[in-house]
């Protein structure tokens, strides 16, 4: 703002100004303002018209909504008068003038900061409102929710864009492989299916077959990931044999089988989580099963180009784990930072591993420094009773234990280290990242939600167990077991003050 002030010059030449008559109301602005919406907007086109006579350009639209959009072009910020119009109205009008990018940047939430996020809304699909899977993979804050056999799309403004009914009865995995195409799979039905969202129709299916093995038949999909040209999906047959298939995005042909395994032990279960790391071109799969003897699972990394396994860890059992008997309950990869985080099933501890430097025991356990939180880590030794979900997003680690949501955020810490160099001890200041744990939710949002949900149904009056967390854009989406809808958490610059007068 300061910079803008100093550079701001008072325009006195009328030839770089433009007069507009919108629906009978006169507006005057500069050419540079009107072109701020981008080179292909309607307003830019209008500003290029020769206006030798000085008559204002007439646009037959609503003047009030135009004044809001003109304010937006002038200051990159929506004025409070915009609240008179619905989000949808503003978006449609901005689309008409071709300045939806300006509107987007003004309406999207600020960078997501887990230590200061609040529940802003709950997206509730109208029918079958219990989400079975969702994807926020487009990265612009939009989300596609699979609920039962339907997929509902919500755009960057969280406006419902449409619902597609698929032939599947119960979608358990969904991934956006093209901007308008979702790949869906079900643990109850065979095959990976692609649906075009804009047309609302089925565009293709992929089945896992093997000419040499007739048992490979009617395989179901458990996890989906994608790279720029391929889709990766983990398939499992009825006799539990499983494999990751690499599928070409344009031809929908299976190009290779990765990590085919028998599936008759916990070590060879079908991967239920797949992540593709574009930086190194590797694919990471993990599976966790929970039985009466606690959790067991594996994390495995393959190179899809060679189809070979690069690294693996099995818990319990493999390597010289420093935490014997405390196997992980969930694991997630921070794609940008090339790190992965796990949460231990018994102690509830969080550990980090550097994917660039994987060893036999790569885990570094994050220290809980706050004594008041140390005891609130769960039941402790409950042995697989807790439901824990971990998700890395924007250099933060979001973790849920039962219904609570917490975040581990990085803070730079200076630590003095004493070094003994030949009789002389000198102090060296070491800068390092340490992680701090904070709760994202508070008890108050719980109450508010209770009120909301008690209106809709009495059964969901208790906050449900978090089943899935995913970040997209600057939003965090959370779905809970037995609760209708997907929660949207955002950070805000506004204080959200409540008047009690």
């Amino acid at each position: 703002m300061e910079e803008r002030n100093s550079h701001y010059t008072l325009q006195t030449q009328s030839h770089d100004r433009i007069k507009l008559n919108v629906g009978g109301k006169l507006f005057e602005t500069t050419i540079s303002t009107i072109r701020a919406g981008g080179s292909d907007s309607l307003l830019t086109a209008l500003s290029c018209r020769p206006s030798d006579d000085g008559d204002p350009v007439f646009i037959d639209r609503d003047p009030e909504i135009f004044s809001v959009l003109l304010s937006l072009l002038r200051s990159n910020r929506l004025p409070s008068t915009s609240r008179r119009f619905s989000k949808q109205e503003l978006a449609e009008e901005a689309l008409y003038y071709g300045i939806e990018n300006c509107l987007k940047s003004a309406m999207l939430p600020p960078p997501l900061s887990g230590i200061d996020a609040s529940l802003v809304e709950t997206i509730r699909p109208a029918a079958d409102g219990f989400p079975t899977a969702f994807t926020a993979g487009a990265g612009d804050g939009s989300v596609w929710i699979a609920h039962g056999g339907q997929i509902s799309g919500y755009d960057w403004n969280l406006i419902h864009t449409g619902t597609v009914r698929t032939h599947l009865e119960y979608i358990t995995s969904i991934h956006r492989v093209w901007p308008e195409v979702a790949a869906v799979g079900s643990e109850n039905d065979a095959g990976l299916h692609l649906y075009d969202f804009s047309g609302g129709r089925h565009v293709g299916s992929v089945e896992w077959t093997d000419t040499s093995d007739p048992r490979v038949y009617k395989a179901r999909v458990f996890a989906i990931a994608d790279s720029t040209d391929s889709i990766f999906a983990s398939f499992e047959c009825a006799h539990r044999e499983n494999s990751i298939l690499k599928i070409d995005k344009s031809t929908l042909q299976v190009t290779s089988e990765i990590g085919r395994q028998s599936g008759n032990a916990a070590k060879t279960m079908v991967p239920r989580k797949l992540t593709y790391l574009p930086e190194s071109g590797i694919i990471l799969g993990s599976a966790v099963s929970c039985g009466s003897f606690g959790y067991s699972g594996y994390i495995r990394i393959w190179d899809p180009r060679s189809g070979k396994e690069v690294w693996e860890t099995n818990e319990p059992g493999s390597g010289r784990s420093s935490r014997f008997g405390d196997s992980f309950a969930d694991v997630d990869v921070d794609v940008d930072e090339s790190t992965m985080f796990k949460v231990c099933s018994k102690s509830g501890d969080v550990a980090i591993a550097d994917l660039r430097n994987l060893k036999e025991d790569p885990w570094v356990y994050l220290e809980e420094k706050n004594p008041s939180l140390r005891n609130s880590r769960g039941r402790g030794g409950g042995g697989g009773e807790e439901n824990m979900v971990i998700h890395c997003y924007k250099k933060q680690v979001f973790l849920s234990r039962e219904g609570g949501l917490e975040v581990w955020s990085r803070v730079k810490e200076k630590r003095e280290e004493e070094e003994e160099e030949e009789e002389e001890s000198s102090r060296r200041v070491v800068e390092e990242w340490s992680y701090r744990r904070n709760y994202v939710d508070n008890n108050k949002t719980k109450k508010v939600e209770d009120k909301d949900s008690s209106l809709s149904s009495s059964s969901s009056s208790v906050r449900g167990i978090i089943k899935r967390i995913e970040g997209g854009g600057d939003r965090l989406f959370v779905s809970r077991e037995g609760v209708e809808g997907v929660e949207v958490w955002e950070s805000s610059e506004f204080s959200g003050s409540v008047s009690v007068l």
Binding site: L10, D116, K369, N442
Partner: protein
């Protein structure tokens, strides 16, 4: 609207127009406004409006500013009168702040809306709740003179701007911030009783600008017990990590926090309890150039405490009081009233000590019910007392008492020592709906508001007196 406004100034405007044009016409977003040079000059030299007044700026046409005309008309009224017109209510304060920032006149808007002179203690009512995210309730609070509020909750510090419309949150290295003091709206000093060093934090970007420490002979860590400031100095009460020594450090605020002096350094040997108490409250008394430091300790024999007034330049104690009977639960000093106020931990009553006639015997005059002084109950436990302007605010449980001096005519009550007996009276603040609630943990004052935090509540309560315009 512009035409009618120009009529107001027509008496001097039209006649001078030919010789020296005093009336200035501006085109803002297509609407013409007319005003005088004097009005525009009030915007200050940094404002873009002052460019119009520049003698080198000789426009061939009416100067054009590409902004919203409706908000400009409100800001022009602000320039003309110093107050916001009532039509400003059609907009959010946030819109006005944003436009005022563009024109470079945010300080005018701030002084019309959140001016310390608008603080009316008798007219405060509970008006806003500022929610805090997460599960930590506030542990420390600090305000700036124009009403920005900083709240520490857990390891986070949330800052609200003077309008209380915008907030930002940073993560600190502390596990919990126990003392917080705002130095400017974007810089604060923070410390904790379980973390070594005082950190000067940039609250906008969230980085540590400076770490200030104090070291005793054993070179152990130093935790922060209290922070205070005068216009030129920053005071910090440190205690060593082993709790065997404590000291108050004086840092220069103007010269990059250079340590200037050290007062009240105590090394503890043996069981001498009095010197083992670090100062937990530091208040600057500007009219006497003294620093008030107080600390207390609860033991099996009751609560012991001391109050000291330090002369920073010489490093000597100007006055010292050891509290044994009905020791303070909290103590504060009021510059405007020239008095020290305490709330007794046993009685829960408010006492006054006049700064003009301090004695070391028993300077306290109970202004409440004096008979309670010898009870062994801890009725004043957790009570807070703070002074602001001419008033003293004392929290008792969930309520706030407002103590004010009633100035009586000189005919009555004058005694031979030259001072009349001072009369203080109390009021319970707020309407019926505002009374009660969880125990108050912190009180702060800034602009025209009082901010209050309560035990186990993840929010900040704002008490305001109504302001013109909004």
């Amino acid at each position: 609207m512009p035409p009618s406004e120009s009529k107001v100034h027509s008496s001097n405007g039209f006649f001078q127009k030919k010789s020296e044009p005093n009336v200035i016409t501006i085109n803002v977003g297509g609407q013409l406004f007319q005003t005088t040079k004097q009005t525009l000059a009030l915007a200050g030299s940094k404002s873009i409006l002052s460019k119009i007044l520049d003698p080198n700026f000789s426009p061939s046409e009416v100067p054009f500013i590409d902004r919203d005309p409706e908000i400009f008309s409100i800001l022009l009224s602000l320039l003309r009168t110093g107050n916001l017109p009532s039509k400003a209510r059609a907009f959010d304060l946030q819109d006005l702040i944003f436009e005022a920032k563009f024109y470079g006149i945010e300080n005018l808007l701030m002084s019309s809306q959140s001016n310390p002179s608008q603080f009316e203690a008798f007219n405060l009512e509970r008006s806003l709740i500022l929610p805090l995210n997460g599960r930590d309730s506030p542990s420390a609070i600090s305000t700036t003179p124009y009403g920005s509020v900083h709240v520490a909750h857990g390891s986070k510090i949330t800052s609200f701007d003077w309008s209380l419309n915008r907030k930002s949150t940073i993560l600190t290295q502390f596990l919990a911030v126990d003392s917080l003091l705002a130095l400017t709206p974007s810089v604060a000093a923070a410390g904790a009783t379980d973390f070594s060093g005082l950190q000067i934090l940039d609250l906008e970007k969230g980085f540590v600008k400076e770490t200030l420490t104090w070291e005793n002979q054993t070179m152990s860590s130093s935790t922060v017990q209290a922070i205070g400031s005068s216009p030129t100095h920053l005071f910090t009460s440190f205690e060593s990590g082993r709790r065997n020594s404590n000291s108050i450090m004086v840092f220069d605020l103007q010269e990059g926090f250079r340590p200037v002096a050290e007062v009240g350094h105590h090394e503890i040997y043996g069981a001498e309890i009095d010197s083992a108490i670090p100062a937990t409250k530091l208040k600057w008394v500007s009219s006497y150039n003294l620093l008030m430091a107080s600390g207390s300790h609860g033991g099996p024999s009751g609560v012991l405490g001391n109050i000291r007034l330090w002369d920073i330049r010489s490093g000597n104690v100007f006055w010292e009081l050891k509290e044994k009977i009905d020791c303070f639960s909290d103590v504060t000093v009021s510059d405007d009233l020239s008095a020290i106020f305490k709330v007794g931990v046993n009685s829960g009553e408010v006492y006054v000590a006049d700064l003009r006639k301090l004695s070391t015997e028993n300077p306290w005059v109970c202004v409440g019910d004096g008979r309670k002084g010898y009870s062994k109950k801890k009725e004043g436990f957790g009570c807070k007392i703070e002074s602001h302007g001419n008033q003293v605010f004392c929290s008792k449980g969930g309520d706030v008492e407002l103590w004010s001096e009633v100035v009586l005519g000189s005919s009555r009550g004058s005694r031979e020592d030259g001072f009349g007996e001072r009369v203080f009276r109390r009021n319970l603040m707020g309407r019926m709906k505002d009374v009660g609630g969880n125990r108050i943990t912190q009180m702060g004052f800034g602009g025209n508001k009082m901010v209050v935090t309560r035990k186990d509540e993840q929010c900040v309560e704002v008490w305001q007196s109504s302001v013109r315009g909004f």
